[in-house]
């Protein structure tokens, strides 16, 4: 029961507050930024006949699969180099391994170090260094391979997460 309580409290973590604060006014990503970045979310619904469809909506049940689509668009006429999209895996969700498109991604547990999945790390246990393999729950960020984006071009990245159940 104590675990349940924990979850109830942790769930309050998410509220909606302004992310950016400026002196005097709220700031948004400038519409004229060279790289326009948008994210969309859809719920993956599996019908009785096994077909899968994506539904827009703002409500999910625990255990639902949500697909995020990140679109990067070069708003300038000049090429942008080394364009790399990063998608955080929100709290109370878990990355579905293999769901990223393009499939070449790296993941990170700490937002700093990215490596191919599954993430392996070396820890000391009882003074002995052992390598442990982290599960999907520890993947808190996924990042796609860098690419170059020609002027006016756009690129789309998708990945799925499953809401905790």
């Amino acid at each position: 029961m104590s675990d349940l309580n924990n979850i109830r409290f942790a769930a309050r973590a998410l509220g909606v507050l302004a992310v950016f604060v400026t002196a005097g006014a709220l700031a948004q990503t400038s519409p004229t930024a060279p790289l326009a970045t948008t994210i969309e979310q859809r719920t993956v619904v599996v019908a009785a006949d096994g077909r899968e469809r994506l539904e827009a909506g703002d409500a999910v049940r625990p255990g639902a699969v949500v697909e995020y689509t990140v679109t990067l668009r070069n708003t300038t006429s000049q090429g942008l180099k080394n364009v790399q999209a990063t998608l955080p895996i929100p709290a109370s969700t878990e990355y579905l391994p293999g769901s990223a498109r393009p499939a070449a991604i790296t993941g990170s547990a700490d937002g700093t170090t990215y490596s191919v999945l599954p993430i392996r790390r070396t820890v000391k246990k009882n003074g002995v260094e052992v390598t442990e393999t982290l599960g999907p729950r520890d993947v808190r960020w996924v990042r796609w391979a860098a690419l170059d984006l020609a002027g006016g071009a756009s690129a789309t990245f998708t990945a799925r997460v499953r809401v905790d159940k």
Binding site: A11, L17, A23, G57, T76, G111, P136, R140
Partner: protein, 894 residues
Amino acid sequence: MKIHALLRLLAAATLSLGLGAGTAEAAPAAGTVIGNQATATYNDAGGTARTATSNLVQVTVTQVKSFTLTADGARTAVPGQVVYYPHTITNTGNGTDTYALNAPTTGGAFAHTGLVYYLDADGNGVPDNFTPIATSGPIAMGGVFRFVVAGTVPGGATNGQTGTITISVTDTNAPASTLSNTDTTTVSVSAITVTKGVSPSSGPSPNAGPITITLTYTNTGSAAATNVELRDVIPAGMTYLAGSGRWSVSGATALTDGVTPPAIADPAGITYDYNVSAANRVTAVIATVPATSTGTLRFDVSIDAGRAPGNIDNQAQYLSSTQLTANTNVASYTVTRSAGVVANGSNGNSTNGTLEPVTVASASPGAMVDFNNFIWNTGNAADSFGIALTGTGAWPAGTTFTLLQTDAATPLVASTTPAIPAYAAGCPAPFVTDATNLRCGYRVVLRVQLPTNATSAGALQVTKTATSTFDNTRSDTVIDQLGAIAANTVDITNGTARTDSLPAGTAAAGNAATTGWGTTGTTVITTNAITPAAAAPTTTRFSLYVNHLGAVADNFNLSVTGTPAGWTVTFNADGGAGNCSTVGAAITATGPLNPGTNRLVCAQVTVPAISSGQAAPGTFNLDFRAQSALNATVFDVKRDAVTVNTVRLVTLVANSAQATFAGGSVLYTHTLANAGNVNEPISFAAGFLTDSRAGWTSVAYRDNGNGVFDPGVDDVPANQVSTATAFTLNVGATQVFFVRVTSPVTALSTDPANLTRFTATYNATTVFVTDSTTVSGGLTVTKEQVLVNCAAPGPHAGYSAAAIAPSPVTVPGSCIAYRITVANATGLGLTAVAATDNIPANTRQRNSCGAPAVAPAGPVVTSPGDGNAGTISAAVGVLNAGQSSVLTFCVRIQ
């Protein structure tokens, strides 16, 4: 993606669960908002790394209902006894739900009567009150609801019979779920029942207590119960307090705890130990419990530290010589949740105030400043913390504040930290650990983007307040401080770049006096000396290194102030040698400079010719300025100087030569000019005007200003130059002098030329001009004669200047022809020339041998007439240089 692929993914995800060190999974609460923002990093066209952030998408978790019901119970009871069976509903869904308590049913060898539910909120196994209930009321996610079902064993029940009570609970799900428990009552003549209580039943963790555990036993049977044994394993989270055991029969007398050797003996009728009969267990054996009697055994525990909020549950067991082991009710101590937060600047010490305020000493305009703040969860459960900023208004307009997650790249979603766990044998990534105070923290990065024109009078502060989302009365602040916004981000140095710039030079603080390192204001760093030229401009160059010390790429406009009139200053690219020995194209700005780099700029100063009058001697300061194109308040000025050397030069021109005739005079025109760059006083020393030959005289006049000799105007005594004459000849000015040289009448053309020297004095220096004057023949007259036949009219030949010797032909009556040649032997034209001769004595004009005539013809010839005596003359008039006129006539000797 095809469905089977998705299923594979789901299967893989499920199989992977439990690996690694991840946090436990549990459904988020209904209404939980899952937000997400993607970020992208890229290099823009200029190669600068940039970050873009997407919009925020959110999805809300809906409710899923589920619950558990515990537990089946078993009791012994005597006929007629009321039995209570405790049950617990736990809401395992992710939202609040209400549970219906369905009517209990009974079965078995006998039927319980009077079945009814009562509330048992304190979980001690007996009703809190005797108000029947049929619903739980709303139970929050994870919440529990405790109740008892009460039933009466009928009076006709016999020893050994068993009867059951079945209870069921239904939730509000659609379709509804129903769970049931079955309680079994066994009839016994001696019937021990034990209930367990905890007091106080809730509090914080840790709690020194004492928390009193009370086991109340009752024999409801008709015979005494023997060897009644109470067993209570102390649950995790509680610690037994030694010597706290008390029995109601022995009152305040402490029980022994069973330690060996015993300090005291247990009172008669009970043996009591802790951690002896079984590990971590209180064990008491009471020899006899008489029928219908009751008693208590109690002991104290404390609550351990670090317990998560929730219940510490425990059941005791009891048995007797005639009863099998049975459980008491579940007694719980509820660890209350506490929230707490410390915000500081330490990644390993959650003590408030550690490394506060978080300070960045200095930043340049346009710089991006990251403040690392650590939010420590000092509560006893995972909690997230909203971050609010205050004091941002005092920062320069346009400053942007962005809260980032621990990766310093991803925006902090909804300005709220992830749930920071309570310390539990460590803290999972990406959280930081305070191993001393056993707390977990989270790094929040406040990224401050300063505008490119940012300035500040002093330190700038922003206060960050972290507030628990569980208990918004719990908050803590940490101050992020920027010590200063660096005022100067550009520095001009002379001749060499700064050591801390690329490409590096040698300019540093120690040689600021010669390199202009740093802010040098009005101190002259470099002085170039030049000597201006008379008629052409002169240039000199300064090698200026513009060192960009700011944090963002910038372009610096170049300008200069203090340029004297007529001078020009241009900025040029270096010609390639790296020292401005040659220069390239003219520039007005450095062009884009990356932070920490520099550019050599050649400042070319052009001093005009002296003749312009704008090349005066002296030292002229030039303030070279490099000013940020992004922020006009960012600039550096370095003062250099040009020293114009003094040039003293007065000229007097020109030597010339003329010819005159004896007694004549010539006029020479001379110009005194100041070709230097200072005004010169002009004077004339004694002997300033000399003639080389005796008898010659000369006089000098100062022109009246028009440069042309005006007879009667310029050659007046007032203008005559003397030793008293003095004036100042300004730069570039001229003064004309006229020198009249007069030859003596005795001068001969064969004499050497007279040299007239005219000398002027300036600045103790003399300049002179020499005029060479010669005497020419002037107008020469040659008279020749020849004896002619008086009847021959001529022209005659054989004229000679020689005398005619007396001879028979010179007798009276003979004729003589004369030829007078007037020739202009000077270099000048002569006017009003007249040739005049007298008819010699003793002769008379005789026209038969040649009438008076002049050649070339033209001039009028006057004569006394044929046979007369007198003067013959010809008005020749103009006779140009080298021309001659010939007068002829004839006479007869009387």
